[in-house]
């Protein structure tokens, strides 16, 4: 313990050097802005700053990237809450609750909650990284594709909870999303599936086109057609986010659970922030005393997903620093930065260059503290856009969706897909088909397929492996319980409610 505290003291002394602090702030700003723009993901931003780090020392280079990483995972929540456009798939659950809070006139509260829970999750995960990284990494390495499959299934099972008014409608949406996820060239045999000879479908349907089409374009069409919810009555009061410090106390359990799920799932190589945000949201809804309020602007759902997104950042760094194995695409790029500077991350880093390791830990802690101030400023800047009249705002949302979709592959085909999903999103809302399950199917479906097929190849098609391994068995049992509970709720709701709103 004393050694760790001494190491952290040296790390803070390094990270607080003016140049290093400047890199942290710059990284945070770049990350938040990039994360907030649809089509430009946190990963894009990390890749874009990588060439600039060639000319820096390793410490400022890594602090810059850590800033972009942590800022990027938070940034997408701002536009999700304000405009129903999540910057990244990991921000989707935050959008479900945050945008509803916004429509109720609680924009400042929603933004404040997002900032505070994001910073809390990130801070706790950075401290976890500093104190418990080596033993956790050892435990996480015992997980195989069997456990990953079960975790993804749990994420998908939470869909049944999301669509609680009609299980059938939620399953239609989920299966449609999972089907969209199978379009393109299959990874194991290289076979084209459901491309029907259309060349651009060979590489599959990018989930970003689905995401921004269903959410943003669908919402604009809703507004134009006059079927959207009315805007809140007090728009002038919404520009400055509120930092709800005291109001976080009643939400302490969702906050803690979200953070722990973030660290746990983020710490599994290959799982990452997106899976953790969905799992955390689903778990929170299952544990909540008022699950029926999820999807209508529930603060607990927002806090759980947001804290888990940033909570996953520390978890994802564990493998990189302790074992030299990148746990996610973002940490893989960071590993590139290490290697460019001639440093091999891994167990030896702790003994050979402890100063470097603890500077990274200190950097992550500082990033999450600074995020409160910078997130506040960024949210304030984006929130002023809410004052823009609806005709201008709606028009520019369509244009930004066009650019975001085009930027994926510099191909207008992606723009066509986005617009198509926009129209689909409009009609799904109209016909009470929940949208979140479709999104989850597109994002988690291919992951589930990959883990399942790999497990089957490794275990000679023996399905019992999923219940023979204890962690997998427990997670699968939780999924089954979740579905059974949701089915009972759905049957009860159908008997009582005359009709249900769309997700």
């Amino acid at each position: 313990m004393g050694e760790i505290l001494a190491g952290l003291a040296v790390g803070f002394a390094n990270a607080l050097q003016p140049l290093n602090l400047l890199m942290i702030v710059s990284g945070l700003v770049i990350g938040i802005v990039a994360g907030a723009l649809p089509g430009i993901t946190m990963l894009n931003a990390i890749v874009l700053v990588l060439p600039f780090t060639y000319f820096m020392g390793i410490v400022p280079a890594l602090l810059l990237m850590i800033g972009v990483y942590c800022g990027g995972v938070f940034g997408g929540s701002i536009t999700g809450i304000l405009f129903n456009i999540p910057g990244d798939p990991m921000n989707v659950p935050t959008t479900w609750e945050g945008y509803r809070l916004n429509r109720k006139g609680e924009t400042r509260y929603a933004l404040g909650l997002a900032i505070m829970s994001s910073a809390f999750g990130g801070l706790v995960s950075a401290l976890f990284l500093a104190f418990l990284a080596p033993p956790f990494a050892k435990f996480a390495l015992t997980f195989s594709t069997v456990e990953f499959f079960s975790i993804v299934v749990f994420g998908l099972a939470s869909v049944s909870v999301l669509g609680q008014h009609s299980m059938a409608a939620a399953l239609i949406s989920l299966c449609a999303g999972m089907f969209i996820g199978t379009i393109g060239t299959e990874a194991q045999y290289g076979v084209e599936r459901f491309t029907f000879g259309v060349p651009f479908l060979r590489t599959g349907v990018d989930f970003v086109t689905v995401l921004i089409g269903l959410f943003a374009i669908g919402e604009v069409l809703d507004q134009v057609a006059g079927t959207a919810e009315p805007a809140p009555e007090n728009p002038d009061a919404r520009a400055v986010p509120r930092l709800p410090l005291l109001e976080l106390w009643p939400l302490r359990w969702p906050l803690v659970r979200g953070t722990l799920v973030g660290i746990g799932v983020g710490g599994l190589a290959g799982a990452g922030a997106t899976v953790s945000s969905f799992v955390s949201y689903g778990l929170e809804k299952q544990l909540s005393k008022e699950p029926e309020l999820f999807g209508t602007g529930h603060a607990g759902g927002l806090v759980a997903s947001e804290s888990s997104v940033n909570g996953s950042t520390g978890g994802a760094m564990i493998h990189l620093l302790t074992l030299g194995i990148p746990g996610s695409a973002a940490t893989a790029v960071m590993m590139g930065a290490f290697l460019v500077h001639g440093i091999q991350p891994g167990p030896l880093l702790f003994t050979k260059q402890p100063e470097q390791v603890y500077t990274n830990f200190a950097g992550m802690i500082l990033v999450n503290v600074l995020m409160i101030a910078l997130g506040f400023l960024a949210a304030m800047s984006f929130a002023t856009l809410m004052k823009v009249p609806a005709p201008i705002l709606n028009t520019f949302i369509v244009v930004l969706c066009f650019l975001g979709a085009f930027a994926l592959r510099n191909d207008l085909a992606d723009v066509w897909l986005t617009m198509l999903f926009g129209v689909l999103g409009f009609y799904m809302r109209r016909w009470a088909l929940p949208i979140p399950p479709l999104i989850m199917g597109v994002i988690l479906g291919p992951l589930a397929e990959g883990y399942f097929l790999t497990s089957m190849v490794a275990e000679a098609n023996d399905l019992t492996v999923f219940v023979r391994r204890p962690v997998s068995a427990v997670v699968l049992a939780m999924s089954v319980g979740l579905v059974a509970w949701a089915m009972v709720k759905s049957a009860r709701a159908r008997r009582l409610a005359p009709a249900e709103p769309a997700g």
């Binding site: 059938a168 239609i172 989920l174 134009v224 369509v398 723009v415 009470a432 009709a499």
Partner: protein, 166 residues
């Protein structure tokens, strides 16, 4: 709404699931002996889709008269059709007219469609917005936005040069 009308959409989902299941024939041919084929997962998903649609169709058919009477909210059909048409035209026209011109026309048209009336506001947003987007996405992010065809390509290049973007 009649029972048939209510159940029509889920039944269409059942039909789509079955058609796609049939389209997955041949996908399984490449599988190595003893291995799951590339058709396994999509077939599982499509069977789930068809089954869920069937359940939904039955639920809709059995729905009470009170519940069935609650249809979707009324919509401004004309404005919705015009908005979808404007978006389609925007994407269609961009490769021909180039992004700057197509975008300027789209912003102006869509703003009017959404209820903006002042010609100065519409014009400023259309022109100013397009120029700002060109600076951000072409000059800073290096996004190769469509320049158009023939005469319009020359026009776009001339504009980008005049703005010192190119």
């Amino acid at each position: 709404m009649t029972v048939l009308r209510r159940a029509a959409a889920p039944l269409a989902g059942v039909a789509a699931g079955v058609v796609l299941l049939l389209a997955s024939r041949g996908l399984g041919d490449v599988a190595a002996p003893g291995q799951l084929s590339p058709a396994f997962w999509p077939r599982l998903v499509l069977a789930g889709l068809a089954l869920a649609c069937l359940v939904k169709a039955v639920q809709e058919a059995r729905a009470s008269a009170v519940r069935a009477a609650v249809g979707p909210p009324p919509l401004a059909r004309g404005r919705l059709t015009a908005a979808i048409a404007a978006v389609v035209l925007y994407v269609l026209a961009t490769p021909w007219l180039g992004f700057p011109l197509a975008n300027t026309l789209f912003i102006a048209g869509f703003m009017v469609l959404c209820g903006a009336r002042g010609p100065v506001v519409v014009g400023l947003n259309a022109v100013g917005g397009t120029v700002a987007l060109l600076y951000v996405f072409v000059k800073l992010v290096y996004l190769p936005l469509p320049k158009g065809a023939g005469l319009f390509e020359d026009l776009t290049i001339g504009l980008l040069r005049a703005l010192r973007i190119f």
